[in-house]
Amino acid sequence: MTLALASLLLPLGTALLMLLLRLRSGIWVIAASLGSLLCAGLALHEVIEQGVQTLAIGGWRTPLGIRFELSSLTAVLLVFTAMTHLLVAIYAQHSRHSHARNTDYWPLSGLLHASLAALWLSRDLFNWYVTLELLGLVAVAMIILSGPRAHAPALRYLLLSLAASLCYLLGVALLYGRYGVLDLDLLAQASEADHSTRMALLLMTVGLMLKAALWPLHLWLPAAHSSAPTAVSALLSALVVKGPLFILWLLWSRVAPVDMTESAGLLFALAGIVALLAGGWAALRTPLLKTLVAYSTVAQLGYALLALGLLLRWQQSELSVALWLFVLAHGLAKVSMFLAAGEMQATLGSKRVASLKGATQTMPVAMFAFAVAGGSLIGLPPSGGFVAKWVLLQPLLLEPIHWPWALGVLLGTLASAAYVFRVVALSFDRADATPPDYDPDPFAQWLALLPAIAVWGLALFSQPLILWLSEASG
């Protein structure tokens, strides 16, 4: 557990140090995320050896104090967060187009990393409220880094995020009023299906779905993520929207009484299917490149929602492996897609998708990264998205009565194929290729390609990954 704490403290300490000494170079954050990655890796190794570890903070046991729990899933998430931060920090430091270099991006990204780690580790409802608030504020502070034009979407995002946190807090208050404890496992033992618990869970779910931009409450995401600087939108899409999803999953799979989960599961699954189609349709029609990538986030979260819904509906906990495989594969693919999109947008000088004509000639590596990441979003083998969809499909296809859900997954695949190949096909158009106004930055493009290659080959590494993710579903 001390390694996991170190993985949390390193970025936090560096951020405070950078603020105090007014340091502006990214080397510190790169070093901190590297250190944090190492600690997280060792923590994962430790968890595999000795199993789940818990820590009562300050020595006070659960009903009174706050409890940290390090399961193999949490360790994998810590590693994933550190890796993404490392990659995006290197991009922000070395890419010519990232105007996040001499701004407050560095301390903010350190704080984001620390609050995410705090969220993964904590198992206390109110503590989650504070970490959710931290995430919301950091995200807004980073969005407005790109100047005054990002103020309007940032303000809307902040207001909705605050309202969502208060919905969540009211739910926590109801649960505390009903059971008198705030810890997840104590609640799990004590929870029964009465009206107060149902209302509390409903309120918390509405709050969390709004913060995770899950389908019905996702309208703030495209404007916010596309107006943010490239490095920031990569972090937001890959990580920040996943925090509330983690809490939603833990809440429903552990605390919610059984007969409540059936109906909730059905609603989640239906919302997931609609998210896939609505997100795909919106991504297909938007003229702006970054908005397209943002809508694809909404669509891909539909897969995770579908997995969560079916997991709750049939009480089959191995579906949680599919849920977390989707989250990891989508995170890696989205980082690469946003970095590639940002590079192309900055070099070709226009926000529109139409400006990508002939991009395979003018910016071959960035376009290749976009296409490979898109391939994982569609779920083409041997990518991570494919393994996640494969693990999701297995229980679906076993009994004939579940086949309509498989049809939903098929439609989702075709929808995501539509908007990915809309861009890829356009980029092969050599008729009037948009010439880049100044020479593209090769290093940034290769950097964007790195996570895409990682997610493309994820299937070859899926055996141990599925093992680690499945342990945590208990």
Partner: protein, 505 residues
């Protein structure tokens, strides 16, 4: 996985074209010599490795390479008789087409990208052929789609993009269906090794609805690439691609991948008895027959040479599905032999079409009058291949149609015999006028003697040697495959070996 050479050979065959391909991507446009060298080393290396594997299999060695991939389904590359036939076909034709492509794209732009994706395509095809289980087959099937798309849209013109989009909708849709089918079977039995009699027999009674749906999904997914009737729309439109692409990919690699997949599914996944028990072979038979007739009829109405050849491919490939669906051993031999013969003949026809277009700018059939005087050698190759397609002895086409006919009689499907005869007549109806135009019609205007840079006098210097040599080479191969059909190492002999093992005769 003990790393003996028998394990690494299949991987070596796939990598022998993958690694040069990735290297070619990084080359600048003007490094032609290095690119040609990389290409040729890749081709010759693969040829050598395939030869080695052929020698090994003949000596009874077992070639199997596998790494963990999915829970219950590893990534398996295995060299058995059926896969070797398809691998050797695609390797030989890749050699011919590489030389043809180098000649064809002498000073065209973006050649590094072209040859990079070209080698990726071949690696995918070879991987698909060597696939040891359904999951690996699915992996290479999808990679083939991704690798061929950039080649279809290589020219970057609006028509090419439109054709590319149509191509993608069909093939990605097919890929998704295949994925569903493979996932369905995997959920029932996992993905075991392809085995001679198939591994679904025990599930026959308990899981009939799932098996029927899985078969429909698999055939639907594979049917897109095998250009079965409702799913063939992409093939004629993909003719907008450069000639080498249409030659190797749309006559051999992509289309055969679909047909090869159907052969694998029927023989090595389901096995003959379960397919007959479930009565799935009848709709397949009807579909194949309908496609044959439809393809030939549409070919009759075409005015452009490449569109005509495309529709003839649609109908010819369905011969293979027809042979498989007849469920008889002789028909199966005919089908497998046709898989190779059709490849050789069709690639020759596409080379000739490419030569006509590249040298004299002839695209439409009306412009082919008297082309025989200007390009006699290409025209002879064209005639040989066309006669083969019609099924005139002693060409390879006749051999496979003959076996298919015998197979139809053997299984009592006399209606199919009628279909074969009718399609033979239709083939004659649309190929013979071309041959007549080429040799006997008088050209409207005298052929420009030294019009283009590639020009030359009729005979050996009628066009660039790199365009002429592959054409003649494949035409000769088609003829030899017909004449030497009886020998052991001919495509027919090899098919006989496979089917004996399959039906354990």
């Amino acid at each position: 996985m003990n790393a003996t050479w028998t394990n690494l050979l299949p991987l070596g065959i796939v990598l022998s074209s993958l690694l040069p391909g990735l290297l070619i991507f990084t080359l600048r446009e003007e490094q032609t010599r290095l690119r040609v060298a990389l290409n040729l080393t890749g081709v010759l290396l693969k040829l050598g490795l395939v030869g080695l594997m052929l020698w090994g299999v003949a000596r009874g060695l077992e070639f199997r390479f596998s790494i963990p991939f999915l829970p219950g389904g590893e990534l398996v590359l295995q060299g058995d008789a059926l896969s070797l036939q398809f691998v050797s076909l695609s390797t030989v034709l890749w050699l011919a087409t590489t030389i043809y492509a180098i000649g064809y794209l002498e000073d065209a732009p973006l050649r590094s990208r072209f040859f990079g994706y070209f080698s990726l395509c071949v690696s995918a095809t070879v991987g698909l052929a060597l696939a040891g289980n359904l999951v690996t087959f699915l992996l290479f099937y999808e990679l083939l789609t991704l690798a061929t798309f950039p080649l279809v849209v290589h020219r970057g013109t609006p028509q090419a993009l439109q054709a590319g989009r149509v191509y993608l909708t069909y093939t990605l849709g097919g890929g998704a269906l295949l994925l569903m089918g493979v996932a369905l079977l995997h959920s029932l039995t996992g993905s075991p090794q392809f085995s001679a009699g198939g591994y679904l027999l025990p599930l026959l009674e308990t899981r009939t609805p799932s098996l029927i749906l899985a078969f429909a999904l698999l055939v639907g997914g594979l049917g897109v690439k095998a250009a079965l009737l409702p799913l063939h729309g992409w093939l004629p439109q993909a003719m907008v691609a450069p000639a080498p692409v249409s030659a190797l990919l749309h006559a051999v690699a992509v289309v055969k991948a679909g047909a090869f997949g159907i052969v694998r599914v029927v023989y090595d996944v389901y096995g003959v008895e379960p397919v007959q028990a479930l009565g799935l072979h009848l709709p397949l038979l009807a579909l194949a027959a309908a496609t044959i007739i439809y393809g030939s009829l549409k070919a009759l109405q075409q005015r452009e040479l490449k569109k005509l050849l495309a529709y003839s491919t649609v109908s010819q490939v369905s011969y293979i599905t027809l042979g498989v669906a007849l469920m008889g051993p002789i028909a199966a031999v005919g089908a497998l032999a046709h898989l190779v013969h059709q490849g050789l003949m069709k690639v020759t026809l596409f080379y000739c079409a490419g030569n006509f277009a590249e040298t004299l700018g002839v695209h439409r059939i009306r412009e082919m009058d008297g082309i025989g005087q200007r390009m006699p050698l290409t025209m002879t190759a064209f005639t040989l291949a066309a006669l083969g397609m019609i099924g005139v002895p002693p060409t390879a086409g006749f051999i496979s149609k003959w076996y298919l006919g015998l197979g139809a009689l053997e299984t009592g499907q006399s209606g199919i015999l009628l279909v074969l005869v009718l399609s033979g007549l239709l083939n004659a109806a649309y190929f013979l006028p071309l041959i007549y135009r080429g040799w006997f019609a008088t050209p409207k205007a005298p052929w420009p003697a030294a019009a283009t840079a590639r020009a030359g006098r009729p005979g050996w210097r009628e066009t660039h040697w790199m365009l002429l040599a592959p054409t003649l080479f494949t035409a000769a191969l088609a003829l030899l495959a017909g004449i030497l059909a009886g020998t052991g190492f001919s495509p027919l002999g090899w098919s006989q070996l496979i089917i004996n093992r399959e039906f354990d005769l």
